[in-house]
């Protein structure tokens, strides 16, 4: 089930909210656990086993860390074992076929592939459960003895399949006791509707433009078309992903939780370093806390620091998908990070703000090219056109530009904090009065789009 779908919106959410709010406080975690398991099992009936396994194994490891607290060597073993288990699941389902396939291609061996589909959200929840044992070991959070409460942490549906990646310590208290009132519920509703509109009305609409240029033969692509495609993809992935995070944060609030923010207007950044402080914040935080700092961060010799940056960014790249292009994408950012920190950053600061924006956006757009085009040959051809290897524009590109121009303007506006600023400048009373209207408008238009997505006229009468 996805949030931006009719079954979720009009059935799952209605029933879950109803039962949840009617249940006494003590039993609400149990309701949430059952509802979340149902949510996961709906899309992945078989892989629900992994959920149960994750709960059981990580719960046990947390208890072991606590028991062996006095004996650090044993406690570390428990942490290692937990990390190993989570990575084992992740590698088996996400990377095994890629690794085996690459190895086969390199060596001519024929290691059999598994050919299994990847369980939804596995990259997110394995990272969350890993944070649990580590946080308990570091005494950043107390051990969780109640298996229902712990199960709720592992499975809780708002951020189960697309983040934000919650670190255990940030929700440990909320799992025991959380404030639930009208104000929080309404702020959740608002946030959810914003996210839904971002995903359904903006991301899905501009996605079609990217599809046009991705499908185009690179021999027929124009320079303008190439960049237009990358811009479309940049908007699509931002509004899609941040829309999901908004929906997760909004849903969390409806159930009394407060999750961390995941995006902070990344496209207004003036450097690549700044971009990554604003993009997918929960993932960057995770890698910083659990990989970069333990490796010594930047408080080490320069070669070691460079090594640390490379490790973190290659991992970040491969986390996004099992493919060479993702590794390349990670390496690409590692190099820009190093360049900015070593020499580029100081020079950038002397440039006018507009140029710094353009520089950052250009780096990010090319990055999205690496990210989105998985076929290396096509990737090379596409980027070559972008940098002058084709005609400037043609009638087809201009037609696409004109038909998407109003949407592109809206997207550019929505990617900046301007809309929010404008809204907050309105008098309090006006804000209050238009909020329900905006919520209703978002719901109506999103419902229309979701119904339309299933519109499927049968065209035998085309002849």
């Amino acid at each position: 089930m996805v949030f931006s779908g009719l079954p979720f919106l009009f059935f799952y959410l209605v029933v879950t909210l109803l039962i949840y709010k009617l249940t006494p406080l003590k039993l609400r975690n149990l309701v949430l656990l059952i509802a979340s398991l149902f949510f996961y099992g709906w899309g992945e009936p078989v892989y629900i086993v992994i959920m149960f396994l994750s709960i059981a194994v990580d719960y046990t490891h947390g208890m072991l860390v606590e028991r062996w607290r006095a004996d650090d060597r044993k406690a570390r073993m428990a942490v290692a074992s937990s990390v190993f288990f989570n990575l084992l699941i992740l590698v088996t389902f996400k990377y095994y076929d890629f690794l085996a396939g690459s190895l086969n291609a390199l060596t001519g061996w024929s290691i059999p592939l598994l050919g299994v589909s990847m369980p939804i959200g596995i990259s997110f929840y394995t990272f969350q459960t890993m944070s649990y044992t580590i946080d308990v070991y570091r005494q950043d959070a107390p051990v969780q003895r109640n298996i229902v409460t712990f199960g709720t942490f592992v499975t809780i549906f708002p951020q189960l399949i697309a983040g934000p990646i919650i670190q255990y310590k940030s929700v440990a208290d909320q799992l025991q006791c959380r404030r639930e009132d009208l104000e929080k519920f309404v702020s959740g509703v608002r946030r959810f509707c914003v996210g839904l509109a971002k995903k359904v009305l903006l991301a899905n609409a501009i996605g079609k433009l990217w599809d046009v240029f991705l499908a185009a033969d690179t021999a027929e692509l124009t320079v303008l078309g190439g960049w237009l495609g990358l811009i479309a993809y940049a908007f699509q992935i931002y509004f899609d992903f941040s829309g999901y995070s908004d929906m997760a944060i909004g849903l969390g609030r409806m159930f009394g939780f407060e999750f961390i923010e995941n995006f902070n207007y990344p496209y207004i950044s003036r450097s690549v370093v700044e971009f990554w402080k604003r993009w997918h914040i929960s993932l960057t935080n995770w890698f910083r806390e659990y990989v970069y700092f333990p490796l010594g961060g930047n408080r080490v010799s320069r070669p070691k620091w460079i090594r640390n940056i490379l490790i973190v960014w290659l991992l970040t790249g491969i986390w996004h998908g099992a493919g060479w292009n993702f590794l390349l994408w990670g390496l690409y950012y590692a190099l820009w990070m190093l360049a900015e920190r070593l020499f580029l950053g100081k020079r950038l600061e002397k440039l006018p703000a507009a140029l710094r924006h353009i520089y950052t956006l250009a780096v990010v757009l090319v990055g999205w090219g690496l990210f989105a085009i998985e076929d290396m040959g096509q990737l090379g051809g596409y980027l070559a056109v972008c940098f002058g290897g084709g005609s400037l524009a043609d009638a087809f590109t201009l037609y696409q530009l004109w038909s998407y121009l109003p949407l592109l303007v809206i997207l550019a506006f929505a990617a900046t904090p301007a809309a929010g600023k404008l809204f907050r400048k309105l008098p309090e009373r006006v804000q209050g009065a238009i909020t329900p209207l905006l919520v209703l408008a978002s719901l109506v238009l999103c419902t229309a789009s979701l119904v339309d997505a299933s519109y499927n006229p049968f065209l035998y009468f085309r002849f």
Binding site: L6, P45, A205, G432, L450, V451, P457
Partner: protein
């Protein structure tokens, strides 16, 4: 935000999702959607194997989507929203002012299908006439959005002259009248008026005199065609359907269904698919007989549905017309003509259909 507005916001949200969900459960399910022209999904039957492989829950999702309350209204609303954002292309249909025009794509079959026509010319001793009907995307090219991609139908028709068939200049006839209502605004077919100009071009190729158009009769004022359905653009005025030929004394034998009726089947006028009131829809073979025709010649038309509205005009000239649809009547055209006392063969397709037709191979056999 004060408490009242918070309550209002929460209430709107809960009532919207809860209300529509409840309505979904209460309203009866539909089996068929006339707008989409397909059967809608019903609640799936349970089985453990379907649950395990995920197809059961997927089927429930499809069911919930297909049976969503006010489905057609939501779709119209979405199209309007996209229209406001400047979109003029919906599901491969261009919206050009008050007119919908189907987008025509290049297809790998285009050249091969011309070769089949050439083979037919070589194979049969009968005269073969070839009439390729340019669609609205060609005749009304100037109405398309600026720079919108559109297949070059004129070039294809030019290439068709090399098949050796006798050329029927539909492109010229329709272009000369491009300012008139020769195509429906909500359907991809030509109107009866357009079909009349097509008829005059055939008469010209035959060296015969075309009858004057005469007085038309409007039989429907609320025709929403195929492009209305595919595009989701639901705010246009409906089309009207005209007839210029009364069809008196003309019989149409529906060979496949073993029944005989007149030139028109009026029952279709009260359904969504009103274009089928010409002849009675897509069928493998119709034989039209008119004892009062100008000649006693027999014509074989190898055709698509554009000929449904063309045939009434042809009955004035031919005493017998065989309308053969190769998608359903899969047979060698040359053999059929030889076995049925045919005098002339008329291959008549819209360019949009011929360039992607998968059954044109029977033309060459």
């Amino acid at each position: 935000m004060n408490k009242t507005m918070q309550r209002v916001t929460a209430a709107i949200f809960c009532l919207f999702i809860g209300g529509l969900g409840l309505l979904h459960l209460l309203l009866p399910d539909r089996t068929f959607s006339p707008v989409e022209n397909r059967n809608l999904a019903q609640f799936p039957a349970f089985s453990w194997s379907a649950l395990r492989d995920g197809s059961y829950t997927a089927a429930i999702e499809t069911y919930l989507e297909d049976q969503f309350p006010f489905r057609d209204k939501w779709i119209g609303l979405k199209t309007r929203y996209e229209y406001l954002l400047g979109r003029r292309e919906f599901n491969d249909v261009y919206l050009c002012g008050d007119t919908l025009i189907s987008k025509v794509y290049d297809d790998s079959r285009a050249d091969k299908n011309l070769q089949y026509i050439q083979q037919l010319v070589e194979k049969t001793d009968l005269p073969v006439y070839l009439g390729l009907i340019p669609t609205a995307a060609e005749i009304w090219r100037d109405k398309l959005p600026e720079g919108a991609p559109s297949y070059d139908q004129a070039a294809y028709i030019e290439a068709a002259k090399d098949t050796g068939a006798i050329y029927v200049d539909m492109l010229g006839a329709l272009s000369a009248h491009s300012g008139e209502s020769i195509f429906y605004r909500t359907d991809h077919h030509w109107t009866s008026l357009g079909a009349y100009y097509g008829y005059t071009s055939l008469m010209e190729a035959l060296g015969a005199e075309a009858e004057p158009l005469g007085e038309g009769e409007t039989v429907s004022r609320d025709f929403y065609g195929t492009l209305y359905s595919t595009s989701g653009v639901h705010w246009l005025q409906p089309d009207t359907i005209e007839r210029y030929i009364s069809g008196e004394g003309v019989t149409v034998e529906d060979v496949y269904n073993e029944e005989t009726h007149g030139l028109y089947v009026d029952s279709f006028l009260s359904e969504k698919d009103k274009y089928s009131s010409f002849m009675g829809g897509n069928n493998p073979l119709y034989i039209i007989r008119n004892p009062d025709a100008a000649t006693d010649k027999t014509l074989l038309v190898v055709r698509d549905s554009y000929s449904d509205s063309l045939a009434p005009f042809l009955t004035q000239y031919y005493s017998e017309i065989h309308l053969l649809d190769l998608r359903y009547y899969r047979t060698s055209v040359a053999d059929y003509a030889a076995g049925n006392n045919i005098d002339e063969i008329f291959v008549c397709y819209s360019v949009e259909n011929l360039i992607r037709d998968a059954d044109a191979v029977f033309l060459g056999q």
